[in-house]
């Protein structure tokens, strides 16, 4: 039976703004006027998770940009670049990852509707979260199958630069997906305890969708370059 959320989880709502209190207000939006009158100050700061997720994604993007440039430079540095046919299961894995993202987005919207008061009860969000989690795990398992298929063809990490980059890029992406699965597990736990913050769920979903985009990028890169 799906978990029902009995009481409103504790959340930070972006809109309407917070009541004036002691909270940080990202003062750039409303510096205290010279006369020191505070009531007119717009007191609002985004929850740190909303900013933090951009910081995380910027860092991951830089890392994969570095890997990409390494691939391009390595390809041009010698004549040992060989053709490599991508295992077909990768395309199925892509669909699985997209489906996982879709499930998470359904859950996010349902929790969002509940938290913003549009619905009285969240309609089984945890079921969708578990689906997202399962599909995420399935994706990682699918990647493992792809590696096994390459192994059976005699293509190992050090066989040639193509296989090296294939393993490295897919493995580093899989590690990031596993990190996202950890985040997803945390979201489920906090939702079950009714202490989930909206910004945490949003950030997790954002990260998860970014994993889709990153995977599509990597797939295109591998397809074009390998």
């Amino acid at each position: 039976m799906a978990t029902t959320v009995h009481e409103p989880p504790k959340i930070d709502r972006r809109d309407p703004p917070r009541p004036t209190g002691n909270s940080g207000n990202g003062g750039g939006r409303g510096p205290v006027p010279a006369d020191g009158k505070l009531p007119g100050v717009k007191d609002y700061s985004p929850p740190p998770a909303s900013t933090g997720i951009w910081v995380v994604l910027a860092s991951i993007s830089m890392s994969f940009a570095a890997f990409t440039s390494a691939l391009i430079v390595r390809q041009g540095s010698a004549l040992d670049w060989r053709h490599l046919t991508l295992p077909r299961i990768l395309y199925l894995n892509t669909l699985v990852l997209f489906a996982s993202s879709f499930a998470l987005e359904v859950a996010r919207r349902r929790v969002d509707a509940f938290m913003s008061g549009r619905k009285d009860q969240a309609a089984r969000p945890t079921r969708w979260l578990y689906i997202a989690l399962f599909l995420g795990l399935l994706f990682v398992a699918g990647q493992y199958v792809a590696w096994m298929q390459l192994r059976s063809q005699g293509l190992f990490l050090a066989t040639n630069p193509n296989s090296s980059f294939f393993y490295v890029l897919t493995a580093v992406h899989a590690v990031h997906v596993l990190g996202g699965l950890g985040g997803l597990g945390r979201v489920i736990r906090r939702l079950n305890k009714s202490i989930l913050r909206k910004s945490t769920l949003d950030a997790t979903a954002f990260y998860w969708h970014f994993m889709d985009a990153l995977w599509v990028y990597l797939l295109l890169l591998l397809w074009m370059k390998l």
Binding site: D12, N22, G26, G27, V41, S77, L157, A158, R197
Partner: protein, 595 residues
């Protein structure tokens, strides 16, 4: 609705157990002190290694008692082998650049003071913050452990140029396990720094208290913010490079090792790798790293000098813009480290131009400091002296950068001591002076006691004169053609330079010993120093507004401060003196307020 008066993300109760309070602490102040302790330990180790190197350079056949304890085969009869010299050099540089110059001014002071200066209770992700320190600590242990594993630490230099770094033990002692440990250590360090950058950026953007607009942030907070943005992008590139380097070792890949390399009559089992690829990846991190080391010092020194000048800098905003410009340009200039790498000469020209352009914001910074100091009645104390020393070192070391920025002169100077002198002054000693300025300035707030001023001034003058005595002659040595990274100077033309090397060695020993004065002052003052008041320097920023000294667990007690002013309201008529604190609702009419 639940209480939103504080950021939930950071609201954690004051710990009660010893472990939660002092070891696995979530408190940014404790983490800041842990980083400081790590940096201090690393600095002592790094300095010890430099002493060993200098002794060997002065007297090549000298037996150094106990040297064998550090190495299996590197010191027969306690006399250093050339390979062991290179291992010491590599470890000295790695420890100093990563675990001292990055750790102390950015991670240590930034952790302690950034949340307080923005008016927050803590960083937004305290668990990540704690992880950041412990990952860095483990990284340090992994690095130092390479002294005691296999053939010792890597000898490839802190830049770890391929293919030497990627071919394994056949490249020399430490080039197998030593390099792998080095790469694991630096990879872990990157993780720690990325977690730190996440916290620093979100703290600055989201945790500012009411009234604390971006332009009301002190210059030190700006410097930490700009540095964290650099760290975020730079360390994110170094980490993939370390992963690929490790794979070249343990998995037999060929990312960085080209084919047809023969060592000791043996063809190496690699093919097609690019040695330049490593250099590009490394220096894309490496040059911003120079600014990661120095920009926090710029912010700290500006903050310290303003307090002691009792007037703001000529332009707060231009100073911030200049630090930002350094950060942006630092990514465009990294190729100037590669002028002699065999890179396309057109690329050299492309990297030379922004390298010369980056001197503009640097010069603006210096001119603002000097212009602001001109006519100021500067309070002379240990902190302000080290601030002046920072500027002096930055100028002296920076001027030689003009020569190195141009490929035509760099080709001659690149492999010489000229470069060693340049970067030690502009980045090493300057950043160290920034750390010292910050220590003398903030120690009262961190530990509730004053440091001994007389000892501080003695420490300054010995360090200042000593640093010039060590590093100025390096430029001369370089111009005379003295190659760097050599453990002995046997060619005829270098023989006359040996007395100068001995002078440098003696200077280094004395200057190093002078740091014991600082260490004594630090430890003695921690327990026996005069009790500090809440605001001993009559300063204005939020760290001096805490209800107690040191600040309580949540920094500001039950109520977060409200900010009414720009950070540096000095030279005004306030009710408590010639300053008005940021938290004071007193009306102060100044040019900056009107603007």
């Amino acid at each position: 609705m639940h209480d939103m008066s504080k950021h939930e993300a950071v609201a954690h109760h004051a710990p009660t157990s010893f472990i939660a309070k002092h070891i696995f602490s979530l408190d940014h102040k404790v983490i800041g002190k842990q980083y400081y302790g790590l940096a201090l330990l690393a600095a002592l180790v790094g300095m010890g290694l430099s002493w060993l190197m200098r002794l060997h350079l002065g007297w090549t056949s000298l037996a150094i008692p106990g040297l064998q304890l550090l190495t299996k085969n590197g010191a027969p009869g306690n006399v250093m082998t050339p390979e062991f010299y290179l291992q010491l050099m590599t470890m000295h540089a790695t420890i100093m650049v990563f675990f001292v110059l990055t750790t102390a001014p950015f991670a240590a002071f930034g952790n302690y003071f950034l949340p307080i200066q923005v008016g927050a209770e803590d960083m937004p992700f305290p668990h990540f913050n704690m992880m950041s320190f412990w990952v860095t600590f483990v990284a340090f242990l992994v690095l130092v452990s390479s002294f005691f594993v296999g053939q010792g630490p890597t000898l490839g230099g802190w830049t770890q140029y391929a293919p030497l770094s990627a071919i394994g033990e056949v490249g020399g002692p430490g080039e197998g396990t030593g390099v792998v440990l080095w790469a694991i250590s630096i990879g872990l360090f990157c993780v720690g720094q990325l977690l730190g950058a996440l916290n620093f950026i979100t703290t600055t953007l989201d945790m500012r208290t009411r009234g604390m607009s971006l332009w009301r942030l002190p210059l030190s907070a700006w410097a930490w913010f700009i540095t964290s943005c650099m760290g975020l992008t730079a360390f994110a590139v170094l980490m993939p490079a370390c992963i690929l380097l490790i794979l070249d070792h343990v998995a037999g890949t060929s990312f960085f090792v080209p084919g047809n390399i023969v060592i000791n009559d043996q063809m190496q089992p690699h093919s097609g790798g690019s040695t330049l690829l490593w250099q590009h990846l490394f220096w894309f991190f490496g040059h911003p790293e120079v600014y990661i080391a120095i920009v926090p010092g710029m912010g700290i020194v500006s903050h310290v000098l303003i307090t002691n000048m009792r007037k703001p800098m000529l332009s707060h905003r231009v100073l911030v813009y200049s630090m930002g410009a350094l950060a942006v340009l630092s990514y465009m200039v990294y190729g100037h480290h590669m002028f002699v790498s065999g890179m396309n000469p057109v690329s050299s020209l492309a990297f030379s131009f922004p390298t010369l352009v980056i001197t503009i914001p640097s010069t603006i910074l210096v001119l603002i400091w000097l212009g602001s100091l001109y006519g100021a009645k500067l309070r002379i104390n240990a902190a302000s002296l080290f601030g002046l020393g920072f500027i002096s070192m930055f100028i002296s070391g920076g001027v030689s950068g003009f020569f190195l920025a141009q490929p035509s002169t760099d080709i001659m100077l690149h492999a010489t001591y000229f470069v060693v002198g340049h970067f030690h002054m502009v980045m090493g000693v300057a950043a160290m002076f920034g750390i010292f300025a910050g220590t003398y300035f903030w120690f009262p707030k961190m530990f509730g006691r004053m440091m001994n001023e007389t000892l501080g001034k003695v420490h300054f003058w010995l360090s200042f004169v000593g640093a010039y005595a060590i590093f100025m002659p390096f430029h001369y040595l370089g111009l005379a053609g003295n190659v760097r990274r050599y453990q002995a100077f046997t060619p005829d033309y270098m023989q006359p330079l040996i007395p100068l090397h001995r002078f440098i060695t003696v200077s280094a020993l004395i200057t190093g010993a002078a740091q014991l004065v600082f260490l004594y002052n630090l430890i003695h003052s921690r327990f026996r120093g005069e009790p500090a008041t809440d605001n001993p320097w009559q300063a204005t920023s939020l760290e001096w507004s805490t209800p107690t000294t040191p600040p309580p667990h949540n920094n500001f007690g039950d109520k977060l401060p409200v900010v009414y002013h720009d950070p540096y309201q000095y030279g005004v008529e306030g009710s408590v003196g010639d300053y008005v604190m940021q938290t004071s609702p007193e009306k102060v009419k100044t040019a900056s307020d009107e603007a």
